[in-house]
Amino acid sequence: MATVVQAVRLALHVGEERLGVTDVFGQDVGPPLGGVFTQTQGLRTAWNSPLDERGIVGTAIGLALGGQRPVAEIQFCDYAFNSIDLLKLAGGICWSSAGDWNCPMVLMTPVGSGIRGSIYHSHSFDAQATRIPGWKIVMPSNPLDAYGLLLSAIADPNPVMFLVPKALMRAKAGPNERIPGEPDDDRALSRMIDAPLGDRSRWRADWPRVEDYFVPLGKARICREGRHVTVVTYGRMVPVAMTAAEQAATTGVETEVIDLRSLAPYDWDAIVTSVRKTNRVLFLNEDTDVTNFGEHLLRRTVEELFYELHAPPRLLAGAHVPGIGLADSLERASVPQVEKVAQSLRDLAGHAA
């Protein structure tokens, strides 16, 4: 099965060959490295940029306005915070011109903690991103969604942010989550598209003939069905929620896990349907928990479903402190852990109707 990082690479290849992608660029995106996570190895249109995030975002906007199809990368989302104004600008180009222009670009960036990245390789970007109107925002939790969401992002005529959880880069697809057309044998796939160590000057990727697979933007995925509690989450917290659901199940709590996948637009219907069923909901993400996107979802839930709630809806998110510390103990104390999530599920289920 492809890993997330291989799925991203395959999607970008399809983008180049069939969806008109003209540029995959950013710091160390081109040869010889092909991305600090190997996500852009072997791509025909990949190139290295100067070390200048503002130049990367601005140039991507310009390329898009110039009729090209850029996929720009910010090496770590931690380094996108000097360009929030440009992201707002991109999100406002269609609106400010009253529909005269559109800006079809994809901004790709690794997010979140989980790799002992210390203060500046652990930031989340979902709360910041959802504050920027005019952008569509997606965040996969597995290889197949990474592939399908990235194809949709590329095909969309609007700016789309593709947030990749760092901690899941090497995560493999589940048994029935194979990318249509990928080889059955993992090692075969690796030999085809993973660049060798050492000299790569003569290496070329041998791309498998993967098929189109578009995950519609704005459509959630129910990863697990349950009657007692709903967890609304995305990205790196999806596997955490799944494990916690397993634990809760041992004490008879049946948890429904919703992987939102798209944060903008987001699948409100999926949330409503599930909360109507379970009457109890936990919003889960790893971004800091003051002015957090989960708080938006919770607010809307309270405003529209107040009388269906049998327990106070909850948010579990990251600690509102200036950074995530390097030490394991610090990282664990900063973002939601399985035990805490499982406990919250039990607490919520414990509330009588």
């Binding site: 969806l19 200048d52 503002r54 306005l65 199809r69 104004d85 269609c94 009253a98």
Partner: protein, 369 residues
């Protein structure tokens, strides 16, 4: 900053050839005068409208007509990467006038009517957007246009398999060059082997709102900053349309043919202060490019004082009448704020897909072709 700029027409690094050559035809001089005058009359109407309460805010380019009229007449106008991409700031009235923009539309934006074609009543006046002429939406933040210019310049460079002649033109003020974004543009346009056909124009009026640039900037000329990057440049008197036209053309020809960047710094005037926020009153002690030019035309017997006065009276009258009609046009509905947050189709793909490698699925999928 060095004050003797009025004597400076070009800096040592200016390329190629001397300034003196090639006087402009009478016909061209008349066209330049006509554009400058029409643009000035429009600005004065806009200022009047603002003072009468027709429009909340005015900002524009009176004092920059000589440069901008020249620029507008020389632009390779059209849609898509075979034509010039234009990243303007809020003082480009004369440029658009030269290109043939309808002054009534400008007054619509001044009065933020629903009929404003540039922003449907959303943006300030002189914040243009015209995709059919590659005019990228003008936005208020200073210098951000310099981060986008390399991108459209890449599109220009690739167009028609590299045989395209379109270039990217980006304009900004002097004080704004202190933003890192100006350096970004220099850096990205000069990448070895990846040089971009981008004409950067700094319209130096020596002010940033109330702040004299010479108090903040050590550069003798802002244009000197591009030398370290091997980018050619010129510093010119932007108040003389004859110099301005020749130098803009020279710079443009260089960028068009060499497919390399060029930085043009034009010394200009700010005749009505920064904006309506600072009163928008006429500043007597700055060179008025229109007055100076009209004197020349009179001395050279190209136009009589009377003819020019009549022309000015006619334009003023026409604009006044039009402004009355604009006043009657509808204001936007409140619910309109929800429109155009997202695009349905890939508009920018329309003219570009034949140049870009591969078809344009976004557009196709959304049936815009």
């Amino acid at each position: 900053m060095h004050q003797g700029f009025r004597n400076v027409t070009t800096s040592p690094s200016r390329e190629p050839g001397p300034v003196e050559e090639g006087a402009l035809s009478t016909e061209l001089l008349l066209r330049l005068h006509d554009v400058m005058l029409r643009s000035r009359c429009l600005e004065e109407r806009l200022i009047r409208m603002n003072k009468q309460g027709d429009g909340f805010f005015w900002v524009g380019g009176p004092g920059e007509e000589a440069l901008n009229a020249s620029l507008g007449l020389l632009i390779h106008k059209g849609q898509g990467p075979l034509y010039d991409y234009l990243h303007f700031h809020y003082r480009s009235t004369a440029t658009l006038a030269a290109m043939g923009a309808d002054p009534v539309d400008v007054m619509r934006q001044m009065k933020n009517t629903a009929t404003d074609p540039f922003s449907a009543g959303r943006n300030f006046v002189n914040h243009y957007s015209m995709r059919r002429w590659n005019v990228v939406p003008v936005s208020s933040p200073i210098e951000v246009q310099f981060t986008m210019a390399p991108g459209t310049a890449m599109a220009n460079k690739r167009a028609n398999g590299g045989a395209g002649r379109g270039i990217t033109i980006v304009t900004g003020g002097d004080a704004g060059t202190a933003e890192g974004d100006f350096a970004t543009c220099l850096q990205w346009c000069a990448r070895p082997g990846q040089e971009l056909p981008c004409l950067m124009i700094v319209e130096n009026n020596r002010w940033g709102i109330s702040t004299l640039t010479e108090g903040q900037h050590a550069e003798r000329h802002i244009a000197d900053r591009c030398k370290a990057f091997g980018i050619k440049s010129a510093v010119i008197d932007g108040n003389d349309p004859e110099i301005a036209y020749r130098e803009v053309k020279r710079a443009m020809d260089y960028v068009r043919s060499e497919r390399r960047p060029f930085l043009l710094e034009a010394m200009v005037s700010r005749l009505y202060g920064h904006s309506s926020a600072s009163g928008a009153n006429f500043v007597p002690d700055e060179v008025d490019c229109l007055v100076a030019f009209e004197k020349k035309l009179e001395d050279r017997k190209i136009l009589t004082r009377q003819a020019m006065d009549e022309l000015r009276a006619r334009y003023t009258e026409q604009l006044l009448e039009a402004s009355k009609r604009v006043r009657e046009e509808p204001q936007p509905r409140g619910e309109a704020i929800w429109e155009h947050v997202f695009a349905e189709t890939n508009l920018v793909g329309e003219t570009a897909h034949e140049e870009s490698n591969g078809a344009d699925p976004g557009g196709v999928r959304n049936g815009s072709h």
